[in-house]
């Protein structure tokens, strides 16, 4: 009974965090502890509700689709609802988001302990959770856009949470603006949909779209829509904000910039798959961009020294994986990877947070070392996360990544398959580079550290357990249960291929071994490598100089045009106004000197006036007569 009503009441899942935000913002910001407690309690309730929703949805063999909506903004010709669309896809996302959010919020109690902004931190966390959940349950593009922007706002606020730092302020700004560029295209796509189809509702669009399949306009629309995921999921070329976003508190990075928000782009592609898969060129574009990003980011991650940045590039790379999966039609695999990635990547980030916390905000891996002695829980959960990420069977990452590679392989995208496998190798390498340097290594800088409190380690353990187990729901061992529910029209399912599995596992192990050789055994001198391949190293270390390019472009084109236009405004437009005023004034002065005080010249003007009047009047009359 409760379970049946749960769908009607599922709106509470996003609503409760919003309520929390309002309560904290309006009344409770003076009591940070209370705010934190409220926030955690509310997200816990949301989590429970999500579990119940999941039970209902997956309790039915075919999966349940439930849709309801309330009018939000409407006028003749335009209607934007606030809707609730619950299907297996939503249910998975709800579960992932509420669970990670809950764990991160608990973890934050320890991580953010004593921070003066604790109340606002939890307020932001709540509004983020609310917006993200709102995005997930959306039944139309309007609603998605609304929450899309709101999660962007939360990301902005949380990246800039320590606003006293210049780097944080810059990173927050960068994140928002870069996302705006993506949203520009996304918004255009939505507008096209509205104008052409007259609706933004998913199911109505899904009914109308097929008639336009592969038409030029639809290709255009789908590419525009793809702008959104490119921004939000930090795909090349709009990836630049995500590494910088690591300026935020680490739990935030875990939740927003690893597990949930950045995956929203992938989720959007999945949700709007009925549009994308009608347009082959767009699908190719998506796959290419995703694959490229995966490789590109992984290569950068190879040489970074900041623990969070390594993880950030890893996130980029994995997002690229997911996007690629979407592009090659392996949506289920992509969503599966999204889910497992959410767990193990948040685990990794929280682990990193634990380290950073213990080392008093030290993030350079070369200034860590041998942490395993002092921080066993952190270390071993971190290793589990890294193994999962590297795709070592039977951890979750193995199953999901394998699905994607399988999709590429079986779908005939051999290039992408090879690329994916290469990335898997690199992933394993850089993750274990991190682990060997920071957690084992001979460096003893980390030895004054101490294990984090239970409030931080318990979420780590929970996530570690999930990271190990979550993969099984989609594994052939459980008959691809995940794929049974999370399906997409037109998507193909491929039978498990042992070769692909074996190759990827071996490749990952090879990566780990290489890292072991270089950084643990130091058989190969990494410093020498650095010097030998100086050019390549610098290129990678400086992230292909893309930030610099953008900075240069912005400085010269945007700010340059701004300067030029300012000059134009000041001297041409304002100048014209002032010139007209001056001419008026000057002519006044000129005329003024006709009043020279000489009475006879006044008389002369009068007579002249009479003569002119007389002549012109006579001319007028004569011409009228003639």
């Amino acid at each position: 009974m409760i379970l049946q009503n749960i769908l009607q009441n599922a709106w509470l899942i996003p609503f409760l965090p919003f309520l929390t935000f309002a309560l904290i913002g309006l009344f409770m910001h003076r009591w940070p502890k209370l705010s934190a407690a409220l926030s955690i309690a509310m997200i816990a309730v949301s989590f429970v509700l999500s579990v119940m929703v999941a039970l209902v949805v997956f309790g039915n063999a075919e999966g349940v689709v439930y849709e309801t909506a309330t009018r939000w903004l409407s006028m003749p010709g335009l209607r934007v609802d606030m809707g609730l669309l619950i299907d297996p896809l939503t249910a998975v996302m709800l579960l992932v988001v509420t669970l990670v959010a809950l764990l991160v919020q608990i973890y934050s109690l320890g991580y953010m302990h004593g921070d003066p902004g604790l109340a606002s931190y939890y307020a932001y966390q709540s509004i983020f959770a609310g917006s993200m959940l709102g995005l997930v349950v959306a039944n139309n593009f309007g609603q998605i856009f609304v929450f899309w922007e709101l999660v962007g706002l939360c990301s902005y606020l949380l990246i800039g949470f320590w606003f006293g730092r210049n780097s944080a302020k810059e990173a927050a700004k960068k994140a928002f603006i870069t996302n705006r560029v993506g949203d520009f295209g996304f918004l255009l796509g939505i507008l096209f949909l509205q104008v052409i189809f007259g609706t933004l509702n998913f199911s109505e669009l899904a009914a109308a779209i097929p008639a336009y399949a592969n038409s030029g306009i639809l290709i255009g629309i789908s590419i525009l829509l793809f702008f959104g995921p490119v921004g939000k999921s930090a795909q090349f070329p709009l990836h630049v904000w995500l590494p910088d976003a690591m300026e935020g508190p680490t739990p935030v990075s875990a939740l927003i910039h690893a597990a949930t928000m950045v995956a929203a782009g992938v989720y959007l592609i999945a949700r709007a798959m009925f549009i994308f898969n009608t347009s082959a060129p767009t699908m190719t574009l998506i796959a290419t961009i995703g694959g490229f990003t995966a490789l590109f980011a992984a290569s950068i991650a190879l040489v970074q020294n900041d623990i969070k940045r390594i993880l950030a590039y890893s996130t980029l790379s994995q997002l690229g994986y997911m996007v690629m999966a979407m592009g090659i039609g392996a949506m289920t695999a992509g969503m599966f990877h999204l889910m497992t990635h959410a767990f193990f990547k948040s685990l990794l980030f929280l682990g990193a947070g634990s380290v950073i916390h213990a080392l008093h905000d030290e993030q350079d891996i070369w200034k860590m070392g041998n942490l395993s002695k002092k921080m066993p829980v952190t270390t071993w959960t971190f290793v589990i996360g890294a193994l999962a990420l590297s795709g070592i069977p039977p951890l979750s990452g193995f199953w999901s990544k394998d699905e994607i590679l399988l999709g590429a392989f079986a779908g005939g995208h051999i290039g992408l398959y090879i690329l994916g496998t290469l990335v898997a190798f690199m992933t394993a390498f850089y993750m274990f580079r991190l682990i060997f340097v920071a957690f084992f290594g001979k460096n003893t800088a980390g030895e004054h550290a101490h294990e984090s409190p239970a409030v931080m380690t318990v979420p780590l353990i929970i996530l570690a357990v999930i990271s190990v187990l979550a993969g099984f729901v989609g594994s052939p061992l459980m008959n691809n249960a995940f794929a049974h529910y999370v399906t997409f029209a037109g998507a193909v399912h491929h039978e498990a291929n042992l070769t692909v599995m074996a190759v990827s596992a071996v490749i990952a192990l090879a990566g780990i071994y290489l890292a072991y050789l270089v950084y643990q055994k130091q058989v190969i001198d990494h410093a020498a490598l650095k010097i030998r391949f100086r050019g390549l190293y610098n290129l990678l270390y400086h992230k292909y100089y893309i930030d610099e390019c953008y900075a240069w472009l912005i400085k010269h084109f945007i700010d340059g045009s701004a300067k030029i236009l300012e000059w134009f405004d000041l001297y041409v437009i304002n100048g014209a106004v002032n010139a007209i005023a001056a001419v008026t004034g000057r002519s006044g002065y000129a005329l003024r000197y006709t009043e020279n005080g000489q009475v006879q010249s006044y008389a002369l003007y009068m007579f002249a006036g009479i003569v002119v009047l007389l002549v012109s009047a006579l001319c007028a009359v004569f011409s009228a007569l003639a």
Binding site: T584, G585, G588, Y589, A603, L613, L618, A620, V621
Partner: protein
């Protein structure tokens, strides 16, 4: 013929003579009551005239007319004279022992204006005009110790006499072609001939001089600046209105548009007047002179109503002439008070008026803005009538010029406001004392300006009645 209908004129003449005589017979001390007496007497005449507003009568074969049109202007002149006398305040002390003659001359000038407004014959117009003008010659030069006053008087006399001569020459030509000088009879007897055109142009030139239309305006700034301020005020308000009263009657009745379309000629004059008056006013630093140029521009606006030559336009002429009494007198009254207090009307002597006397600053600002035509002040309603008329007659361009220039005129009016409110004060923190009577006059101007702007209907109804004879 009911001569009692001429009571207004007769009474005014009698009052003028009495004031003149009483100035001679009363001892020095007693002369102060002369001013009060004349104000009171004129007030009674005004009330009487208002009650006889609807009376119509034609005298002496149409050479003198009593009608609503004339009465409207008579009311206007009396009101203006009263306001000017009231607002003179302490300025009267500058006339020393000659103050009673000042009142007498003012009253004679008023009489001259009345005659102009009611004249049914060109020669009657001329007589009224000369009565008015000669009084003004004397009044202009009334500050015997002030060189500029004398200069202004002489300039006015020379130019005034020349313009009278020109006008008379024009009258003689019209007389030659029509055989009559009665306004009502001319129309039937003329047709388009070059000599007639010459006559009309010269007649127009004479009136253009009186109303200070460009290029016959050159006297106005000098004379306005040199004359004692109350005289300037009356010159600007009364003399101009009288000029328009006669001009409208002559042109509307004697010169039918079907014979000779003089509207274009007037439109050009109006446009020039508006443009040049406003442009030169932009550069002025002396408030009196600034108001002089402003009043030139105002003449241009009023002329636009005559250009229209239809109900809205003519109503606008009357309406504007009346509101001009309030607004212009208000502004000049403040200038008078400032000159009494600081001895100058240079814009710098208005500095800090907003602090020293908020009422004066407010009156000045509001009256000036009314002149600029900013709603909800009277000037806006007036301009609306004038330019509606002009547009109705097809003179859209004139409306354009008029309205744009009137917005530009806000610049110089606001310059004064700016100085008053944020200027460096000449006499910091010193309250400015203004007599109760002058204050009363300013309040009337202020309230009149606002009332006519917010609720123009009563005045426009009066004007409607007054212009019936042209319709």
């Amino acid at each position: 013929m009911d001569y009692s209908l001429l009571a207004t004129e007769i009474l005014t003449a009698v009052i003028g003579l009495l004031v003149l005589v009483s100035g001679l017979v009363l001892p020095q001390r007693g002369r102060e009551i002369v001013g009060k007496m004349s104000v009171l007497a004129l007030l009674l005449v005004l009330i009487y005239t208002i009650f006889r507003f609807h009376v119509h009568q034609s005298f002496f074969g149409g050479i003198y007319l009593v009608d609503s049109y004339g009465s409207f202007f008579k009311i206007l002149f009396l009101l203006a004279a009263l306001l000017v006398m009231l607002s003179t305040g302490k300025y009267i002390e500058r006339f020393r022992e000659r103050s009673s003659e000042f009142y007498a001359l003012m009253i004679f000038a008023t009489l001259g204006m009345m005659i102009m407004a009611c004249a049914g014959d060109l020669i009657t117009v001329y007589l009224g005009l000369e009565l008015m003008t000669v009084s003004f010659y004397i009044l202009t030069a009334y500050l015997l110790n002030d060189e500029r006053s004398a200069e202004a008087g002489l300039k006015y006399l020379i130019l005034g006499a020349v313009s009278s001569a020109v006008m008379l020459f024009g009258v003689s030509l019209i007389y030659a072609l029509s055989g009559t000088t009665v306004i009502g009879e001319i129309a039937a007897k003329i047709n388009t001939q070059p000599a007639l055109i010459a006559g009309i142009v010269m007649l127009l030139a004479g009136f253009a001089f009186k109303i200070s239309a460009v290029p016959f305006h050159m006297w106005a700034p000098d004379i306005y600046q040199g004359a004692p301020i109350p005289v300037t005020t009356y010159l600007a308000v009364g003399s101009k209105a009288a000029g328009f009263a006669a001009l409208v009657r002559i042109f509307m009745i004697a010169l039918p548009l079907s014979q000779f379309n003089w509207t274009l000629m007037l439109a050009v004059l109006a446009a020039l007047t508006i443009i040049i008056g406003n442009l030169i006013a932009l550069t002025q630093k002396d408030v009196k002179r600034l108001l002089a140029y402003s009043s030139i521009a105002q003449a241009g606006y009023i002329l636009a109503g005559l250009v229209a030559a239809n109900a809205y336009g003519l109503k606008g002429v009357l309406f504007y002439a009346m509101l001009y009494v309030f607004s212009n007198t208000g502004a000049f009254a403040v200038a008078t008070a400032v000159e009494v207090d600081t001895g100058s009307t240079d814009i710098s002597s208005f500095a800090g008026l907003g602090n020293r006397s908020p009422l004066l600053a407010a009156v000045m600002t509001i009256c000036m803005l009314s002149l600029a035509g900013i709603p909800p002040l009277a000037g806006f309603a007036g301009k609306f009538y004038l330019f509606s008329g002009a547009v109705q007659s097809g003179y859209l361009w004139l409306a354009f010029i008029g309205l744009i220039m009137s917005m530009i005129s806000v610049y110089y009016y606001l310059q004064v406001a700016k100085v008053m409110y944020i200027g460096e004060e000449a006499k910091p923190n010193e309250k400015m004392e203004v007599g109760g009577v002058a204050r009363f006059a300013m309040w009337i101007c202020l309230l009149g300006t606002i009332f006519l702007g917010v609720y123009p209907a009563p005045l426009s109804n009066l004007a409607q009645t007054a212009i019936q004879l042209f319709m």
